[in-house]
Every structure is written in structure tokens, then in C-alpha cells.
């Protein structure tokens, strides 16, 4: 065991001087005339917290207020900042000779449109633009923006042509009369209201640009293309009375970096927690956690901001089991949140059994585990559970959910959903590496199990739908918005979407009887028709009508070949892409914690940052290094102390829902809940598939078939499972754990909660017939349902209450019912 915090910290210590100060960035280069670099002076304290001292520092003459601007002769640009007895320095370098700045629309006009919100998704950056003017979100495509402004015209989603005659939005003969300026200043009616004043710097910049003939400037070469933006800090912990600047840096394709702090748009997700100024200065409002969205140069990023309370007086050392704990507890310490204590053995056993196998621990096992003094018993039980058949059953069920095994999703043929489901089961049973599973699913051809997932409703899904699902499953990202237009919140373009969709553009099925479909990729250069019948296929860009070439998100095109399955290139690229491992570990993480590090799990985007980005990266790296081993990943997670924390909270973590400071009770999945009820009552459910017109059942699952064994939710109907959120898998499942009225009514009057208790073969009736004492029945019920013995007070109260009831059978039935309806039973905690 390692100790994360070797020191006991006190509030007095936190109020002391910093242990160090540093400048951010520590090194920088200015490569063009007019370029600038903002620096921040950051103080670091003994508890790991930081403070922005930029405004309080004394800066060297070349960096007033920390801002360095290109000028003078090329060479070193040392910068120093002093605060009290602390002094920090940064190494800068000017790499450009003096001269006028080269005008570029991208860096001169684009940032104004971004900062003033003109190209925000809610305004002209929306799907169709606004008021006839379409701009790319955050100026992602400056050339397009330039054309719409300078040439005019009205954007159309499904055509590259202007919908109306083109009227320029700049007036080169009378620049002051340009519509661009008159709208933005509110001189003429503008739905978005005035965005800047007539005499503002932004106004003058645009006016000067128009006066100079509204040039675009030299086109960006590939090397100077901005590929991403980074924001410092990624996670900001802010004390109640302190402010902190953000630093935004563009990463260029050539590896260089440029400061975009002054060109970015900053938006807070929750003004009740923190605000952010146009300059990027973050100010706390109230305790809590929010994120700040930063948009610049077509890119977006987000910063997690935690407004923290007073220091914890005696923050204890927290033991860690593995690196998961180091990341989680480190953040908790910075957020001044104390994690809960370790879960009790009973709490842990029930939790890990349900999470790894979807099964309640048997009473005997629960008792033995609690009584065991083996210090390694938790690790041992984890290994034992992973080796059980229930583990294979449960994870087959989970992946059949994700991969959508269902009658209608797999060609409306139960034999095909069986083929597909068996492929998943074999993959889980043999612990097939996840990248291999993904590869097989993505590239499936012929008649094997995974090919059946290409046949929703008995037809080949459209390329765009198929691609979007694969990206969502394996990348955890939703590209669908980019289908009709450039993604309004992300950097995905419509071209990227359709380039990726083109990998599925030749997917085809051979056969027409509904029982024989063979999946293949249609040859590009053969129609398999003849002189009279054109059997060729092609996928066209919906807007430009150009023939689509399969193109990866990074821009690399894969030349089509009739001798090659195009999806192989896609699959090879996808499983090696960082997104793949990140999405996989995040998805599994959510299975054990009730929420993903990125949540929802299939909504990775720059504006939905991970709560623990470094942990996500580390988990993904470990997953890759371990050969995409799902069991190893699960083992790592459930062995962490973080997973094993108690659900009981303390004053510092009571409100925490996202930092894993305590276990969050999670509703059992519908199938697991139904199985658990069957386990506790001793009356398993029977599932029916076919009822003849005369009411006779002709197909029914064998006795003992669990709900998690059901392959096709649309074949095995169950009112209970529908009420508790079982998805039909006709779309990617999004289960809702929210309670509803139907559930309440079902508890009161439904067969599951009532008939099972009175069945002659039920556990309760068997115990009663055997003249079992009330105490023994109570212990059995608690151990079976809750994995624990009743506490002394519970035991006394319940036994007393039972003794007063005139009908013992009814009293016990009522108690069983109450336990089954309790949150403690219906949740994993």
C-alpha cells in the first residue's frame, strides 16, 4: 500500500506562502510579426493547490502584465515575474524579423466572429446559419466564412449553391456602410442585437480590413493548420475568493504553438458556480463544480472548474490500491473532499457480485466472506467471480446490449440473432481481446455472426447510420450532427462524416428471400449487372454530390479496391486510435460506477470533458498495453479502493456525484433486478415467446433461464422488464434508471412482486412449512436479499412486529414484499 498524502495538512499550513512559483508557459516562441504570448505566474502550495498571481506579480519590462509581443530583433526573449520573495522565469525566443504583420482572415477576422458570438451554434454558426448568413462554428472553415461574407449568398444544407442571389456583406466602396458592420453594431435591425460598438477595436479592425479591399490573405498551408487548442489549466480548483486566468494555446500541424488567449470565446456552463470574463479570467461564485467551454479557431476545449471550500483540518492519509486511487484521491484532495471509508465486507461482496456477475451472493458465501480473516479475501473473491459461468453470462448480456442483439436488429430472424449472440458469447467466454472483437464486427463479411448486425429490419442500414453507430460504440462519439452540416459543437465536418460513412457505402447483401443474406462489399468497378441493367452503386456527398472516397477522420483517404474489404482499413485505424481505448475503458468504468469518466459514455466531445482526464488516459494506456483485455481492466477497476469505498457519505463528499468520493447507489438493471427477485423468492421467471391463437404456449424458456440469458428482448416479452427500462435494442441502448408510476403499480399489484411470494415452491413457503423460526427466516431473507444480517435494532423491531401479527404467513409475505420493494434491495450500493 502506498500513501498518497504523507503529510497531515492543516488550514494554517494552507494559508502559508507557496512552496514555489512558475511561469506558464515556461518556454515559448513567436514566429510572426504581431504575434504575442500571454504568460501566467502560478503559485504552488504544499497541498498541491495552485493560485494565479499574474495580476499581482511584477513583470520584466518586455512582458507588461505578462504579455509578450513580437518586436525587435530575433533572438532570446527572457521573461521574469516576481511576487514577494518568489521569482520565476520563462525562456522565450523571437523567431521572426521586424516587419508588418501579414494579414490573415483566419487570425484577424475569425477570432472577432468567435469572441463576439457571431459564429456560435445558436447564431450564424448553427446548422443553416441565421438570417441568411452561415458561418462555420468558431471559424473552423475560414475560407467558407470569407466567401459568404465577401461574396454573399444564402447557405443551403443539401446544395453547395446559394439559395438567393449573392449580395456581398461588405461594401468596398463605402466600408462604413458594410452590412457586416451595420448589423454587428445594431445600426440596422439585427436579431442577435449589437455585438460591438462603433468605435470598438473589433469595429476598427473589420473596417480597416474592408478598406484594404477585404483580402483573405495568404492561404494557410498545411503546416500552419491549427489541429487543436489546449487550455491551461485543464482542471482548475479555485478557492472561494480567488480568480484564475485561462491560457489558450493553438497546436499547429507543424508542431508549433500559438497563443490564442485573446482570440478565444469563453462560456461558463453554470454561472451559479463560476463566471468567466472575455479575457478568460475565471471568478468563483459558489462551491461546486462546473466547466468552462473555450472556443477558438474552429476548435473547442473545456476546463473543469471546482470551486472549493475551506481546507480540511486533518485530511488523513488515504491508502491506495492502484493508480486509479492515486488519480481519484489526488483530485479529491485538491477539491478538499474526503473520500468515504472502505465499504464493509458485506457491502463490498454484494456490490462486486452484482457488478461482475449480475447475481446476488448466496447466503452461505456472504456469511463465510464476512467471517473470513484472510487479508486477501477481496482479491480472491474477485478472481473467483471472474471465473464463474455467471460472469460469462452477465458480460455476454452486457455486450449483447451494446452490440444490439435483437430479433429486429439482426434481420428479423431468431437464428441470426442467435448466430450473432453466440459470437459475442464466445468472445466473452474466451476473453477475446476487445480490439479483435471490434475488428471482427467492423469488417464482417459473408454469413458469420457479426455480419448479422448489418441487417437492421432485414435491410442493409444506410452508410451514415451504420458508420454513426460504429463510431458511437467504439469511439464513444456522436457524429450524427455532421451528417447534414458541419457539427455545430465539435470540429467534425460534413466532409469528414461522409468520408467515414463511405467505408460502409459499398456494404451490400446478396439474396432476396429474407433467409439467405450474405454480406459483402459491392465492387466499385463492376455492376454485377449487364449491358441493360446498371447494377453499379456509388455513394454521393449529399451537399456537393461528389463521389465519396472512404476517408479517415485524420484526412487520410483509402483508395477503393475491388479486391479489398474497405472496412479493414477503417477497423485497423479505429482500434489503434486513442479514442478506441478511451471509449472502451470509459464504458466499462461506467458499468462499475454508474457514470463514465466522460458521461454519458458515448458522448465524448471537447465540450464534455472527462472528470479525470489523466486517469482516463492512463486507463486507456493500460488497456492498450494489456492487449485490450476486458477481464484485466475489470480486475483493475474492482480492485481499486475507489471502487470499494462505502456508499456512506461524510460532510465533505455528500454532494459529490462525479468524483467517486463514495459509492453511488445505482438501480439494478431491469434484468438483474428480476433475476434477483427470482433468487430471493426461489421462484424463477418463465419467459414466453409464442402463444398460439388458442392461448396455448408453444415456446417458453427452460426453467432456470435468467432474464440476462434472454438474447432477444423483442422476442421474449416481459411487462416487468419493459417497466424497469429494458431497451428493445432497436437503437443503441440508453437505459433509464428513473422510477416511474408503472413500477409503483407493479410493486403493488404485479405478479412479480406478489405471486412469487405465495407460490408453494417459494423460498418463504418452504421455510414456513419447515417450521423455521422467525429469527432464522429473517436472517435468511436479509442475507439472500441484502447480503447482510439484520442489525440488532432491525432484528428486534421486525421480530416484535411479526409476533404481533395474527397471520404469520401474511406477515412474512408482507415483510418479504417490503424488502423486495426497498431501495437497498433494488439498488447496487
Amino acid at each position: 500500500m502506498k500513501l498518497l498524502l504523507p503529510l497531515l495538512l492543516t488550514a494554517a499550513a494552507l494559508a502559508a506562502d507557496p512552496v514555489a512559483v512558475r511561469l506558464v508557459p515556461a518556454q515559448f516562441e513567436l514566429h510572426r510579426p504581431g504575434a504575442s504570448q500571454q504568460l501566467l505566474l502560478i503559485a504552488e502550495y504544499a497541498d498541491g493547490s495552485t493560485q494565479d498571481l499574474t495580476d499581482a506579480a511584477t513583470w520584466s519590462a518586455n512582458a507588461p502584465a505578462g504579455l509578450v509581443t513580437a518586436g525587435g530583433t530575433p533572438g532570446p526573449l527572457p521573461v521574469t515575474a516576481t511576487h514577494g520573495r518568489f521569482r520565476a522565469s520563462a525562456t522565450g525566443r523571437l523567431e521572426t524579423a521586424p516587419g508588418p504583420a501579414v494579414f490573415r482572415f483566419r487570425s484577424a477576422i475569425g477570432p472577432i466572429l468567435t469572441r463576439r458570438g457571431c459564429n456560435s451554434p445558436a447564431c450564424h454558426g448553427g446548422v443553416k446559419g441565421r438570417g441568411g448568413l452561415k458561418l462555420s462554428a468558431a471559424s473552423l472553415f475560414p475560407r467558407d466564412d470569407y466567401d459568404w461574407i465577401v461574396q454573399g449568398g444564402e447557405y443551403q444544407v443539401l446544395s453547395a449553391e446559394s439559395r438567393t442571389p449573392r449580395t456581398p456583406r461588405v461594401d468596398l466602396r463605402n466600408p462604413n456602410a458594410s452590412l457586416l458592420l451595420r448589423k454587428a453594431t445594431g445600426t440596422v435591425s439585427h436579431g442577435g442585437g449589437p455585438r460591438f460598438a462603433v468605435d470598438s477595436l473589433d469595429y476598427r479592425t473589420i473596417l480597416d480590413w474592408i478598406r484594404q479591399g477585404a483580402p483573405f490573405g495568404p492561404p494557410d498551408d498545411d503546416a500552419s493548420r491549427i489541429t487543436a487548442i489546449e487550455v491551461f489549466p485543464k482542471i482548475l480548483t479555485l478557492e472561494k475568493n480567488r480568480k484564475h486566468r485561462l491560457l489558450v494555446t493553438a497546436v499547429l500541424a507543424n508542431g508549433r504553438r500559438e497563443d490564442l488567449t485573446a482570440q478565444a470565446l469563453y462560456l461558463t456552463n453554470d454561472r451559479q458556480i463560476a463566471t468567466v470574463a472575455d479575457s478568460g479570467l475565471v471568478a468563483p461564485v459558489a462551491l461546486g463544480e462546473t466547466s468552462i467551454l473555450v472556443r477558438a479557431a474552429g476548435q473547442a476545449a473545456a476546463v473543469i472548474v471546482g470551486v472549493i471550500g475551506d481546507p480540511v483540518a486533518h485530511y488523513p492519509p488515504i491508502a491506495t490500491n492502484n493508480f486509479i486511487d492515486e488519480h481519484v484521491f489526488d483530485k479529491l484532495r485538491r477539491l478538499r473532499i474526503l473520500p468515504s471509508g472502505l465499504s464493509s465486507d458485506a457491502e463490498f461482496l454484494r456490490r462486486v457480485c452484482l457488478d461482475l456477475t449480475g447475481t446476488l451472493p448466496p447466503p452461505g458465501r456472504a456469511t463465510a466472506f464476512v467471517n473470513s480473516r484472510d487479508p486477501q479475501k477481496r482479491q480472491r473473491v474477485i478472481e473467483a467471480l471472474i471465473a464463474t459461468p455467471e460472469f460469462t453470462d452477465y458480460w455476454t448480456f452486457r455486450f449483447q446490449d451494446l452490440f444490439r442483439v435483437a430479433l429486429f436488429a439482426n434481420g428479423i430472424n431468431p437464428k441470426w440473432s442467435q448466430m450473432y449472440g453466440e459470437w459475442i458469447r464466445e468472445s466473452i467466454a474466451r476473453n477475446k481481446p476487445y480490439d479483435r472483437m471490434a475488428w471482427e464486427r467492423l469488417t464482417a463479411q459473408g454469413y458469420d455472426g457479426p455480419t448479422r448486425h448489418f441487417l437492421p429490419y432485414d435491410v442493409i442500414g444506410t452508410p451514415e447510420e451504420t458508420m454513426a453507430e460504429e463510431v458511437r460504440v467504439f469511439f464513444g462519439r456522436r457524429l450524427e450532427c455532421a451528417q447534414c452540416h458541419n457539427h455545430p459543437y465539435e470540429t467534425w465536418s460534413q466532409d469528414q462524416f461522409w468520408g467515414l460513412a463511405a467505408f460502409f457505402g459499398r456494404l451490400f447483401k446478396m439474396g432476396d428471400t429474407g433467409n439467405e443474406y450474405v454480406i459483402f462489399d459491392h465492387p466499385l468497378h463492376e455492376g454485377m449487372g449487364n449491358a441493360e441493367v446498371n447494377g453499379r452503386i456509388e455513394t454521393l456527398h449529399p451537399r456537393t454530390k461528389a463521389k465519396l472516397v472512404p476517408t479517415l477522420l485524420d484526412g487520410r483517404s483509402v483508395p477503393p479496391s475491388d479486391q479489398e474489404n474497405p472496412r479493414k482499413a477503417l477497423a485497423s485505424w479505429m482500434v489503434q486510435h486513442p479514442y478506441f481505448a478511451e471509449a472502451a475503458v470509459n464504458r466499462l468504468w461506467a458499468e462499475f460506477f454508474g457514470r463514465g469518466l466522460v458521461d454519458p459514455v458515448d458522448d465524448f466531445r471537447s465540450t464534455n470533458p472527462a472528470t479525470h482526464p489523466e486517469l482516463l488516459s492512463r486507463l486507456a494506456a493500460e488497456f492498450r498495453r494489456g492487449g485490450h483485455d476486458l477481464r484485466a481492466l475489470m480486475r483493475l477497476i474492482v480492485n481499486s479502493r475507489t471502487y470499494q469505498l462505502s456508499a456512506a457519505t461524510n460532510p465533505t463528499n455528500r454532494a459529490d456525484r462525479a468524483n467517486y468520493s463514495h459509492a453511488l447507489p445505482r438501480p439494478l438493471l431491469a434484468e438483474v433486478l428480476l433475476d434477483a427477485i427470482g433468487q430471493v423468492t426461489g421462484v424463477p421467471e418463465r419467459f414466453t415467446t409464442t402463444i398460439a391463437p388458442d392461448g396455448k404456449i408453444t415456446q417458453q424458456t427452460p426453467t432456470g433461464t435468467r432474464a440476462i440469458h434472454l438474447r432477444e428482448p423483442d422476442l421474449f416479452h416481459s411487462r416487468f422488464l419493459e417497466l424497469y427500462g429494458r431497451p428493445n435494442r432497436l437503437a443503441l441502448p440508453e437505459r433509464s434508471g428513473k422510477a416511474n408510476l408503472g413500477q409503483a403499480l407493479h410493486m403493488l399489484a404485479g405478479s412479480i412482486y406478489n405471486e412469487k411470494l405465495t407460490a408453494p415452491a417459494s423460498r418463504l413457503q418452504t421455510l414456513l412449512r419447515a417450521q423455521t423460526t422467525d429469527g432464522a427466516i429473517l436472517e435468511d431473507l436479509y442475507l439472500t436479499a441484502l447480503g447482510r444480517l439484520p442489525e440488532a435494532a432491525e432484528r428486534e423491531q421486525l421480530l416484535t412486529a411479526l409476533a404481533t401479527q395474527p397471520d404469520r404467513n401474511q406477515a412474512w409475505k408482507d415483510l418479504y414484499w417490503a424488502v423486495l420493494c426497498s431501495r437497498e434491495f433494488a439498488e447496487n450500493h
Binding site: V381, A387, G446, M510, N515, G529, N530, T689, I697
Partner: protein, 541 residues
């Protein structure tokens, strides 16, 4: 040879006259249990079905087999089967007879292994055949196995009815029986090798047991199916018998449109004979083999043979035509076949333009989707010139040494294709008429008349030709060149008229339906000769 036996055979007619008034509809047999018996055995069995009350005897078309009807209820027959020791193993057929007529033929089996009835504590000691019925939906039969380390066993389940699809699951004790000391873990599972039209749905498991110990074998119905007709036999054999090929048997009726019919040396002669031409003796087509070098030259008629033993492999042959020809292209898959090997054959002209293929492309009914179907035969016209014939698998990822193809390119030969007769029995009532319909596929512009005769009818039954009301279907606008890929089907009907007062049958008679082409005013060799069991039965009250 037909055998008729039953407890009431002596006073058959009297009883028949009485029970005839009780019958309601045609009797139907669904399944036999036990499904299999060994030679030399005498055993009782039940047959599940419908409308069985009143049936009095059985007919078995097999030497060395005797079957006796013991009793009949509406949905079950109790019978006794006696098998001579010399009866060969294999599938047998059985029908039942009664005042309501003759039933369909039902399959059952003679097996070489000892047999046992399924029961919960049964231990499977190979060689053994276990007979059972999954009488209730969701029922599962579980058997115990005690094996030695390194022992291999083969399990095969055969169902009595196409409506019942059994599934096999092999279980081993869970290595970690954490949840229950009785926990068993799935070791292997088998429903069928491959679910595809024409392939068997019978499960088959071969397993090498690495460790000694108890195992379990379960048999259940697919998707929880069960019922009185869910009869099966389970064969347990020592060793690892080679799996049967994933290859459907050629259809029992002559058909040119199957990937598994054999394009043998006499294929062209068969086509001529099917066209009524008994004299033409065409030489066998020349054969060329696929080569990795230059494409071999194909003459007409000629057979191009080869294998797609590597993924994305393309096999080519060249072709030169001096004159226009109406051609037929036929494809056989002698080893692996659909859906694993899906041969696409395309003919390109010298400019690379596709002029023919065995893939039929059409649009669906609303014209939105293009649909493609692979066919074993297509017809087309080629004009003089140079061509390339190309064979490949439909997928680019699959190629295997058993992906063998045989492509025959030949002039078109007008002939009669498959003749299909849906009825397998005729139960007629006095004073009524019944239409017997069969279908003939006219292939490659076969235009000759076709004659059908039904001989051996009992007294009182006459036969008349019937002109069917032609089915008027609007032309399919999106059908592509469907005529290249399908024959022209034509239905023929005969009317069987039973005179009033015709005596009811005690036993069936077997009139023979014969279908012949008429060539140059003469009847040619039969296309179909089929005896059909026929009985005269009392009308339904």
C-alpha cells in the same frame, strides 16, 4: 412393396363403413416416438398428429419392417414396430390408413446402435441412441456422461419433424462453483452447423474431453420450442466422426437450378432428353482448368473449373466467338457452397464492359433499393468477339481450398426443367371433384406441348384435363432481366371426378402420374413418373 396390417384387418370393411361417418378432415401425422429403433427389435411407439381417430392400419414401404396399429385417438396413434435383424439402418417412411383416408408419410429411423428412452438419470454410454420427446415448451432433457481423459465423443440429434429444431449443449462442472456447488458451466453449444436454406438444422457436437469426469449433455428446442410432436433421437458415438459436408444434397426431383446439381459429362444429354430429343448425343464439353498464368481459352460447349483458394482471388478464362450465340451459363459448386462460397461469374467484352453475370439485379417493389441475387444458371446472347469470363467469390475476405467451381458455357437447349407436384396423397369423396395441379418449368424457350396422364385409377374415378385460369400479374417494372435467371413456370391441372356411389376404399391404390413432352407428334420419355396413394373416403359430415 406395400404392407397393410392392423388389428381390424379382418373386419375392415364393416368397421370402416361405420367410422367413415365420424371422420372430419384429412389425417395428418407429425412425429414418431421413439424415433429410432435397432434391427431385430419389437417396440411400441406413439405417433402424434391430428384427425387420427378412426385410423385402423399402417403402411410401411420397407422390407423387413412390420408396423401394427394398436389404438388411435384424435391426436395420437399407438403402434408396434417389428424390425427384422436384417433391416438396414436409415430413414424409413410410414403412413396410416383409415376411413378418413391415407395420411402423409412420416419419417422414422432404424439405427445400428442400442437404443434407450430418455429419462432424467440416464447415463450416456456410447454407442447409444436415446429417444425422447420434449413434451412441454421449455422442456430440457439432461443426460450424464462419464468420460475418460482424452476421450472423444460425437453427439448428433435428429428431430422427427421439420417443425422441431433441437439444440445441444454440453456442460462441465464449473471450475469455480462459487455461486452453487451444483453449478455447471457451458462447455460447448450446437444448434446447427450453419443456418441456411437447404442445410440441415440438426445439431451435431464433437468434443475431445481433456479431463475425465462427469459431464452433462442437454437437448432442448430452439427458442424453447416443445410439444407432443417434439420427438428426437440423440446418437452418442465414440470418436470424432468427420462432420458431414456443409452441402445440401441435390434435390430429389430433377432440377437444373441448383448450385449442387452435378454438371457431369452427360449433362448436355440430360438436357436434350428433357427437351424430348432422345437421339442427339452431344460430346462432353471440353474442360479447362483455372491457371495462375494466362487465362485458358474456353470453347463452347466448355467447362471451366477451378478453386478460389485465396481471399479476393479472381479466376479468368478467355472466349472467342465467331458468330452470335444464345448461350447458357451454369455454375456448380461441387464442394463448399452458399452461403460460404458464393461464386460470381461475369462475362466481359473486349472493352471491359459487363455483358452477362449470374447475379440478378433488380429493384425492390417501391424502387428504392437495389437487390441482387446469385443464380446457378443464366442465359444471354453473345455477339461475335473476344470475351473474358471471370469467376470470384462475392466476398473479398474469404477463400478456401474447397471453394471449388465448375462453370459450363453452352448453347441454349430448350428443355423442360423441374416438374413439381405438391400433393403427396389424394383422399377423394364420392360425388366430388378435386383438381390435381403440378408445375413445369419451361427452360430456354422450351415450347413443346407436355402431356400428363394419370393411370391406375380405381373404378368410378375419371380424369379430365383442366384449363387453369391464367394468373394475370402486371409486369414488374423493377424486375431487371429476370427472364435470364428464371424459367417460365407453367401450371397444369387434372380434374379427378369421383362418381356418386363409388365404393369407399379399404386400402389405397397407387395411380401413377406421368408427365411427358410431346416432340414432333410423339410422346417422349417421361419427365416425371410418380405414384400417388389415393383413397375414396366418405364426405366430411
Amino acid at each position: 412393396m406395400k404392407r397393410l396390417a392392423g388389428p381390424m384387418s379382418g373386419a375392415l370393411w364393416v368397421l370402416f363403413s361405420y367410422t367413415a361417418r365420424l371422420c372430419a378432415a384429412e389425417p395428418i401425422l407429425q412425429s414418431v416416438h421413439p424415433l429410432a429403433g435397432p434391427p431385430g427389435a419389437t417396440y411400441q411407439a406413439t405417433i402424434a398428429g391430428a384427425n387420427l381417430a378412426g385410423l385402423h392400419s399402417l403402411t410401411v414401404d420397407e422390407p423387413g419392417v412390420r408396423a401394427r396399429l394398436l389404438s388411435a385417438t384424435a391426436d395420437q396413434l399407438n403402434i408396434e414396430i417389428t424390425l427384422d435383424p436384417s433391416v438396414p439402418s436409415g430413414e424409413k417412411k410410414l403412413r396410416a390408413i383409415g376411413p378418413q383416408g391415407i395420411t402423409n408419410a412420416i419419417s422414422w429411423h432404424v439405427v445400428a446402435e442400442p437404443t434407450a428412452l430418455a429419462k432424467p438419470d440416464l447415463t450416456l454410454a456410447p454407442p447409444l441412441v436415446v429417444n425422447g420427446v420434449l413434451r412441454e415448451p421449455g422442456e430440457v432433457h439432461t443426460f450424464t456422461l462419464k468420460t475418460q481423459a482424452g476421450e472423444a465423443l460425437t453427439f448428433e440429434a435428429v428431430s422427427a419433424s421439420p417443425a422441431f429444431d433441437p439444440v445441444l449443449t454440453l456442460l462441465e462442472p464449473a471450475q469455480e462453483s462459487w455461486f452453487s456447488p451444483k453449478s455447471w458451466k457451458r462447455l460447448a453449444f450446437h444448434d446447427e452447423d450453419l443456418f441456411f436454406p437447404g442445410l440441415s438444422t440438426q445439431p451435431r457436437l464433437t468434443h475431445l474431453f481433456a479431463t475425465a469426469g462427469p459431464y452433462r449433455l442437454q437437448i432442448s428446442g430452439f427458442s424453447g420450442h416443445g410439444g407432443p410432436a417434439a420427438s428426437y433421437y440423440l446418437r452418442v458415438r465414440p470418436g470424432t466422426a468427420p462432420p458431414p459436408p456443409r452441402h445440401p444434397l441435390p434435390p430429389p426431383d430433377w432440377t437444373p437450378r441448383s448450385f449442387v446439381r452435378q454438371l457431369g459429362p452427360d449433362w448436355l444429354s440430360q438436357l436434350y432428353r428433357r427437351g424430348g430429343d432422345q437421339k442427339t448425343q452431344p460430346p462432353p464439353p471440353t474442360r479447362i482448368a483455372a491457371s495462375a498464368k494466362a487465362p485458358p481459352s474456353l470453347s463452347i460447349p466448355g467447362i471451366f473449373e477451378g478453386r478460389i483458394d485465396q481471399p479476393a482471388q479472381v479466376r479468368k478464362a478467355s472466349l472467342h466467338l465467331e458468330q452470335s450465340l444464345q448461350l447458357a451459363l451454369e455454375i456448380e459448386t461441387p464442394e463448399a457452397t452458399l452461403p460460404e462460397f458464393n461464386p460470381v461469374v461475369t462475362v466481359f467484352d473486349s472493352t471491359g464492359r459487363e455483358v452477362a453475370t449470374n447475379v440478378h439485379t433488380k429493384r425492390n417493389n417501391n424502387g428504392l433499393y437495389m437487390m441482387k441475387m446469385i443464380h446457378p444458371r443464366t442465359t444471354f446472347l453473345l455477339t461475335p468477339g473476344d470475351y473474358t469470363l471471370q469467376v470470384r467469390n462475392i466476398t473479398t475476405d474469404h477463400g478456401r481450398p474447397d471453394f471449388a467451381f465448375r462453370v459450363l458455357l453452352r448453347p441454349q437447349i430448350a428443355h423442360a426443367g423441374r416438374v413439381t407436384l405438391p400433393d403427396d396423397r389424394l383422399n377423394l369423396t364420392p360425388g366430388a371433384a378435386r383438381v390435381l395441379t403440378f408445375q413445369l418449368d419451361r427452360e430456354e424457350d422450351f415450347r413443346d406441348p407436355v402431356a400428363a396422364t394419370l393411370t391406375g385409377l380405381p373404378p368410378g374415378v375419371s380424369v379430365l384435363p383442366v384449363a387453369d385460369n391464367p394468373v394475370e400479374r402486371p409486369p414488374l417494372p423493377n424486375a431487371g432481366r429476370i427472364e435470364r435467371y428464371t424459367p417460365k413456370p407453367q401450371t397444369f391441372s387434372l380434374l379427378l371426378q369421383v362418381a356418386e356411389g363409388t365404393p369407399l376404399s379399404a386400402v389405397p391404390v397407387y395411380p401413377k402420374l406421368t408427365v411427358r413432352p410431346v416432340r414432333q407428334g410423339r410422346l417422349a420419355a417421361p419427365l416425371l413418373e410418380k405414384p400417388i396413394p389415393l383413397m375414396i373416403v366418405a364426405p366430411t359430415p
